[in-house]
Amino acid sequence: MMDRRKQLPILHRKSRRPLWQSALLYAIVIFWCFIVLFPFYWLATTSVKRPIDVSRGPNYIPFIDFQPIPDHWEEMFGIQRESTERHFRNSLISAAGSTILSVIIGAMAGYGLSRFKYYWGRLGWDNDNIAFWIISQRFLPPAIFIVPFVLLYNAFHLIDTYGGLILAYTMFNIPFAVWIMRDFFNGLPVDLEESARVDGATRWQAFMRIVLPLSAPGLVAVAIFSFIFAWNEYLFALMLTNFNAITMPVLIAGQNNTRGIEWWFISALTLMAVVPVIIIGLLLERFITRGLTAGAVKG
């Protein structure tokens, strides 16, 4: 890290880059930022357009091309308030619940795999095999779980409950959580724990009081990923809920059938579902980048 920072001034030899290269660089960057940002802009403006402005457009600039109105947002928090709140709350509870569980279980297993030696005799598996088995679960096609989950959830009356969604999302999040946390603990020196244990702390106390506080960045990364996955998930939410526990993505996808396509209302609803995670993401950007690259860069 330090080395690279020292090299930065060398990299900054701006004079060496010809003007046309700089122009090209900025052109590409600005073009791609436009590609990324314009759809968000379009959602935002559509959510304050009158229906006629949506279908007789396209109208680009508020106050010039069209007169913005707050009606759809008022509808969402007025007539539709009950529905909006319920679905938002459902998403929040199932995402938060599975996040908490994934972080706890993921940190524990990650710590175990990083600090102890396991050997599953019957399979002949050591730590690396176990870790690989755990991460491989993340890549199983969810379609294969459709039938057994419906049968299992019906048998245990978990359909349309928070518990059911939380359990399913926790299962999907654990592999990645274990992977990131193991990687994180591997990079954490054992000396501190050892000295704490010499001073009489139990393994659990050392884990709770010394290891976890030091691994806050890893925990935050795991929490963000788990939350975003659960918040955005569609297939299982659709399949395991029918009324009480329906989450935002299912509500949005359903707008197609129930009310005809009211783009202005869908846009407001979509922003409602997307903005919270984007804010979380933007605030905690450095943790995300770190988590994304945790497994990948080291190979």
Binding site: R4, P58, L292
Partner: protein, 330 residues
């Protein structure tokens, strides 16, 4: 001294217990919610199980009927017919083909553009951190929302869609009388392209950010050495950057490939699988067989086809990766 000896012995015993305590919750959840369903659906795939079948069988048993309640009175028969049916199911074949197109074309496009953008972002320039944050935004959007947004843009009516509006004006600029009009969701060859674009819009930034992190980990002296040897920028890119990025490239391609195998939300929201079954993905077909038609047995058999495709893809890919990596070392 003896004190520390006993404490170290109790520590050993404690560790033996704690070792299990730490790993068990994760393993138990994966065994019950992943491995068990996996085996169960393998079993179901060899039956003709239908939705509600077991309820009917239970009612029949309660009424004292023993005929026609199936294997062990569970309401289904053991059969291998599902796997025979796979071979002649034309709709299944087109969903397999569509899924393969999404995976291979999707990953290729996303990787190439992602690599290009990462190369650009690897140059120092003002505002790079803000750009990196902007790049995170599409990934955090629920695919359902991205798909709706895509539907607004791929509407062919230039009165509604800014993209259609742009294409019309752009076409006129090129001298075409009516401009360019693309029948995105109504044409069987354009519809998959629209879906590929929506998925790419969401996930190119993912490729970019990871490849960028990989590039930034390459030490500057390697470039310096190449420059001293007289290599130009393109040669440096092809002979230094790309080979060094090979392992990380394999990882992101594998991750994205496996993710695209799961595609369903974008398809449901944009086309619902149509026109015909031109955009239907395997996951969507399995979902419909299981939950719309209630054919649990057949749905499970198709799900196993998908699983086998995924395993073949991952295995071939890892083998190719190992060979490439071995070749690079020479």
């Amino acid at each position: 001294m003896p004190n520390s000896l006993t404490s170290s012995m109790s520590t050993v015993r404690e560790d033996k217990i704690m070792k299990r305590v730490f790993l068990s919750p994760a393993v138990i959840i994966l065994l019950t919610l992943s491995i068990f369903p996996l085996l169960w659906s393998l079993g179901i795939s060899f039956t003709d199980m239908q939705r509600g079948g077991s309820t009917i069988a239970r009612q029949a048993a309660a009424a004292g009927i023993t005929d026609g309640v199936g294997f062990l009175g569970l309401g289904f028969e053991l059969t291998s017919r599902n796997y025979e049916r796979l071979l002649g199911d034309g709709r299944l074949h087109s969903t397999v083909r569509n899924t393969m197109i999404y995976v291979f074309v999707g990953v290729t496009i996303q990787y190439l553009i992602g690599l290009g953008l990462a190369t650009v972002l690897n140059q120092p320039f003002r505002g790079r951190n803000i750009v990196r944050i902007i790049f995170l935004m599409p990934m955090m959007m629920t695919p359902v929302a991205a798909a709706y947004t895509g539907r607004m843009f791929f509407d062919s009516n230039p009165l509604r869609s800014p993209l259609a509006d742009f294409l019309r004006d752009f076409g006129k600029l090129l001298g075409l009388e009516r401009g360019i009009s693309v029948p995105w969701f109504t044409d069987i060859s354009w519809a998959p392209i629209a879906i590929l674009i929506i998925d790419a819009w969401q996930w190119i930034p993912f490729m970019t950010l990871i490849l960028l992190a990989g590039m930034q980990a390459i030490p500057e002296d390697i470039y310096e050495a190449a420059r001293v040897d007289g290599a130009n920028a393109l040669e440096i890119f092809m002979r230094v950057t790309v080979p060094i990025l090979l392992p990380i490239s394999m990882t992101v391609i594998l991750i994205r490939g496996l993710e695209i195998f799961k595609i369903i939300d974008v398809v449901v929201v944009t086309t619902g699988g149509g026109p015909g079954s031109a955009t239907e993905s395997l996951t969507l077909y399995i979902f419909e067989q299981a939950l719309s038609n209630g054919n649990y047995g057949y749905a499970s058999a198709i799900a196993y086809v998908l699983l086998i495709l995924v395993i073949i893809f991952a295995t071939l890919f890892l083998m190719a990766g190992r060979r490439l990596a071995g070749g690079g070392r020479e």
